[in-house]
Symmetry: C2
Subunit: 212 residues, 2 copies
Amino acid sequence: MSSRTKPLRRDAQRNRDLLVEAARQLFAVHGLDVALEEISRTAGVSIGTLYNHFPNRADLVDAVFSDRAQTVRQIAEHSLAMPDAWDGLVHFLERICELQANDRGYNDLISRRVPQATPTEAHLHGFQLMSRILDRAIEAGVLRPDFTMADLAFLTWATARTVEATGSVRPDLWRRHLGLMLDGMRAGAAHPLAVPPINPEELNRAMTGDCG
Amino acid sequence: MSSRTKPLRRDAQRNRDLLVEAARQLFAVHGLDVALEEISRTAGVSIGTLYNHFPNRADLVDAVFSDRAQTVRQIAEHSLAMPDAWDGLVHFLERICELQANDRGYNDLISRRVPQATPTEAHLHGFQLMSRILDRAIEAGVLRPDFTMADLAFLTWATARTVEATGSVRPDLWRRHLGLMLDGMRAGAAHPLAVPPINPEELNRAMTGDCG
DNA sequence: CACTAAGTTGAGGACAGCCTCAACTAGGCC
DNA sequence: GGCCTAGTTGAGGCTGTCCTCAACTTAGTG
């Protein structure tokens, strides 16, 4: 995270911070596709400076959302600390969807095929925690046993488009649809599923958008 | 549909057909955002001719998908003809999702905020039939009573993004996720939902993308 | 203060897609 | 066949975004 390679001059650091802050705000409102020139303009800095600090758009996205893996980890830990396995799962999903709903950029990032620069590190730990949230709920007999990590991606995708479509009209509508999904995830609701889950390697390809 | 205003010269009709066919194919593979010049090139026709026949992109989209409302109507009618209300509902949803999965253009059209030229006519009749499919299933006690037409939109959105992400990796994965959703829609699975459904007027705004 | 390396600037080239219009071509009716 | 209008053509202007680079400015050190 803070593995600073070079000390960075004071004004340079300030400009960098201004850029990240501007990007954070614009991403949140307009999604990840904002024009880079608009970001630099909002930051009060030249477009050349933006490219100096962030050669690719992905680098900027990374800088803006570098703390999110941490946030997700905290949410996951809090969920695991909750006594009831189902409540923990619900809490986790609600918080994640909330993040999506409150930040169009994060919504894009988490659901879309975006070339991410640093795909690993704290992410992996987050995945482990998520996996434990599911396992615990399955073992407790509250989550259907055929539910897998990969199926969580579906929830993310579903919420992504819903928020995109309804966010400006009914910002909380995703809660209703998450409720529907949750009712389908309960152990008692389970009917056999037509098709096996996607495997991790396929999921990765789906996420990064390998159009093979 | 065939309310021909002017007779249209023979070569003009041929070119129009070529354009629609080219658009159909390119939309299906690449979605609704293909470059219009690529469409005209594929059709073997000048870009000027395309603009002559279809002043807006929406007009072309309309021409390509004008038959879809009809198709949906037929699917709905077939579903209503099925003796079991639940089977009918499932059949309807599976067929609709299939349409989405098999045509990226239709997937865009049905789920995204696309300015449509002709929003009405056979569509309304389709809506009525869909409404009857839901009502019948609710009355039969198999579909949860708090499920509304507007909630079907969620299913569409969810499938849209899922297909977008996984279509090239696992073209049938949507069936699994539809299965999960269906288990959440069953009357027996229902738990109270956090938030009321979106109303038709709001839904319309969400569909057309009024960013108010 | 002076000097230099680090950092900034913004005009401008490259590219992609949209759309127009004046010049051209060819159906189809007499 | 000849004519006229419907239809076609495609170069070119417009817009918006990406990205570069040579000239300039400034932080910070001795």
